[in-house]
Amino acid sequence: MPSVLQLVFLFFAAVTVVGALAVVLVRNLFHAALWLAVTFLSVASLFIVLNADFVGLSQVIVYVGAISVLMLFAIMLTEDVVGARGLSLRSAWPAALPVAAGVCVVLVRWFARYAWLPPQPPKPGGTAGTIGLAFIQKYLFAFELASVILLAALIGAIYLAKEERS
Amino acid sequence: MHLEDTRRLFEQARERFGEDISLSDRPSGEGSIVVSGPRVREFTQWARSQSFDFFADIGGIDYLFESPRFDLTYTVYSTGQKRHLHYKVKLDESAPAVDSISDIYAGANWHERELLDMFGISFNGHPDPRRILMPEHWRGHPLRKDYPINGEQVQFSGNFGDVEPQTLPPAPGQDAFAGWQALETTPGSYTQLIEPAAGPDGQPDADGRMILNMGPQHPSTHGVLRLLIELDGENITRTLPDIGYLHTGIEKTAETLSFQQALTLTDRMDYLSPLGNNLAYSLSVEKLVGVEAPPRATVLRVILAELTRIQSHLVWLGTHALDMGAMSPFFYCFRERDQILDMFEMISGVRMMTSFICPGGLREDVPDEFMPALEQFMRVFPSRVGEYETLLTKNPIWLERTRGVGRLALDDALAYGVSGASLRGSGLAWDIRKAEPYCGYETYEFEIPAGTHGDVYDRYLCRIEELRQSHKIIRQAMNRLEPGPVQTNDRKMIPPPKNELDNSMESLIHHFLISTIGFTAPHGEAHVPTETGRGLLSFYIAGDGSPKPYRMRARTPSFANLQALPVMLQGGLVADAVATIGSIDIVLGDVDR
């Protein structure tokens, strides 16, 4: 008999999988982007179920609130208003299937070998402090590297946009 | 301009044009130079070199039983010498055609199109020979005298599909809209002009250009104006205004009404400036008939015309601010405007279409309560102007939205015949009230504001200042108001007083005739330029000895000002279009007539 928490977890896990499948299967590009947002949201819910509330809410802010919206924005800018039929992946089925299957096998095998920690009880002050300290102590280099890469991407984007205008 | 001036100019021109020009004494008191058709371009160039830099109008008169049949009356102004010149071209009945002058004065473009539309006169070398006010499928040219009034066929139906262009008889087997479809493929027709460069509506073409259709139902076009805007990204590359949605044939209708009745049409042209229109019309008719309004009437006319200017500017300010999202100034402006309309109601019983200024003076004297109400208004108004300015003039958002937006260079403004505050914003303090005074404006002390950049903000500042100057004029006029008659005592125009009717048979008959038929005007033409809130308004009136105007040509400021809109929008953003349209203060009734 699974506990309530486990049922909730299973529910969001199912939503995540269904959402992810819908992203690649629906033909309307706008709907695909919406399904992506649903997937992100349920992943955030999974984080929260696992007591990783900071990560979960950051996921909502960044992925659901910003990245998905930007995708929708780009689609609205470029597509016809309603009824536009986006790219269909039908023609790419034969190529996509083995690749996806391969990735799936690799991931499952790797996850199976990983030593999973037992569930952690929630920390009294929340996880934000711990994560913050980890970022500027243990993982400082990775953190700074990520920001440098993002900066480079930013400058590159500006450069491309400028190029096009002139 | 006096006949002698015209004669002197004529002598100068004679040296160059020889027998190709002659002198006419029409319009009365001013005269005009009659130019032979083939040399009109040359003459226009010469006129422009003689400092006639402001293009005002080309009117047409159809003298049906004369030969040559058509008179084209060109009017150009010299802003430097403060005078204007009429010159005429007479055209034959068969295939009337004349060279276009739209490359000399850009503003001639629409006026020539209107002549093409209304008289069927073709202009050689015109860049865009299409109808302008009437629908494209219209048959005939309405202002020709042989075009019957009520001759048009109109089908009234509630079903969109039933409304079809009745004057284009559909060929057998064609559907109702075949006429429209034919138009769309006719070279030079409406859609062809702008669309070859771009794809269908809303879709960018290969160069990324896109057509945006603004209006005719759009809250910011101030009426039924349609703009076809070609965009390159966010920037406007071309604009094509489409007008005529509100065309009511006022010039044609006036020909069927008596002079007193036609007055009521002028109210309805520029419905925000009815008394200004009444005044312009009355002055022209008075000049044609040869009477003058008495002094009290003239002073009251100045007061009423300035009040009208103020209320017209208030509507402009309120709606202009509302277009830019500032709600409150609208209500403040309408508070004062209502005060003025209350006064109009007091004097005439009507708030807008007063017809109070009429040929010969005023309809009647103002009631006793008018002056206290005016005094009350005069006391509060200056501080109210301050209120509007507090909200807008130094507001950073307002500055950002209006500075450097919708620029119009002075040369363009003059060539297009842009007048009023839209011209003064571009830097030339030219106002008919100063340049060619009427109603004794030369005796009032006031100033003409002018901007420097010709942008939306400068036009705004000019109009705000004009509110103050109008206030100043009214104050002076109030001080010189003295009791006296408000109608001319010329019995040709004004019926005899009631008490005479009891003891004079002749008076009774005369009263009856003026009341039923109206007063008659002699053969001739007359023209008096005036300055309304929107700019140069003049009526060119021709009489033929009957009690009806043979021709009433209205040169309206909005028509000319709107024509310069594409120049102002060029290179700007779509969001600026709203600000720019608001700033030229057009009234579509004034554009389409």
Binding site: L57, A128 | S328, T452
Partner: protein, 375 residues
Amino acid sequence: MLFDLIASFIKAVLVFAVVMSFVPFLIWLERKLVAWMQQRIGPNRTGPFGLLQPIADAVKLIIKENIFPSGVEKITYFLAPMMSMIPALAAFAVIPFGSPVRIMGRTVNLQVADVNIGILYILALSSLAVYGAVLAGWSSNNKYSLLGGLRTSAQMISYELPIGLSVVSIVLLTGSLSLNEVVRSQASHGIWNIFPQFLGFIILLISYNAELNRAPFDLGEAESEIVAGYHTEYSGFRFAMFYMGEYVNMVTVAALVTVLFLGGWQAPFGPEIPLLWFLIKIFAFILLYMWVRATFPRVRYDQLMALGWKILVPASLANLAMTAVIIVLGGPNAVRILSVGSIVLAVLVGLVLKAAVALRTKSAPGLAPPAGAGS
């Protein structure tokens, strides 16, 4: 456990009821207030002082037929109004609206849920609110709706940045993401956050005005340009939900700003009466927004974006950096240093802005010298 559950349930219902009953009152207040500012009377037909007008409007909207215009995408069209209203309501759950009270020997927080990352929770929900505009704009099959949706979504995303960055400065001062903690820290500092974080307060004020889509930043529904923007095609109850969503959002934002900057439920002077001061502060804030709406013209879209990205984002970054440095260097005196610094900064910024406006109007075309010529 049971007690907590019941208390939470009662609090949730109460907060929902109170916030929802605020909405008609706020609509009435805005109409009346703006009417007074504009020399009008405002609603005065239904009920005393027209108080029942919004209720009547709501009833009318609710009993109207639900229309799906032809060509709309039904599911997204149906979801959009909910997406604009639900996040606003849900965000209210973590707002503390009074100091803890003791009931039946237990301490009860006057807050639906004391989430220890409440600030993050509110930011997350407000980032979801944009979906209402996006979905409505897309599904309506109308160009004006699409343009409105585009404008609104770009605007909301852009303005979330300065909001987030200013809020982070508060977090630095507080050392916690819990809104309860934010209020308590203001009590212990003895000074409301508006003083040490004055710049942040101004940035948040402007950014939330844009985030709420209110004039002068109501580009997404600028009636003179794009009719009613993303909700052009909506009518009846669905339109009412958009409308209510806007006002619920306004209440939420006002409550959030009150908690973050104005000391939450604390009394500035006099006795601390539960809820009273909180409500007074919320209303002061809402009245400010209404006043702004009646005063300013609308900015242009590119100017709105420029303001967000070129002024507010750098300013809030600078504010964050300054706050961090002073907290590290100033130690226990940090709040005092920041307060004095903000006042100096505010005066400086004010002077610079005033000078800039003066300069602009000076270089503005003075009217040409009196054109007496001709007379």
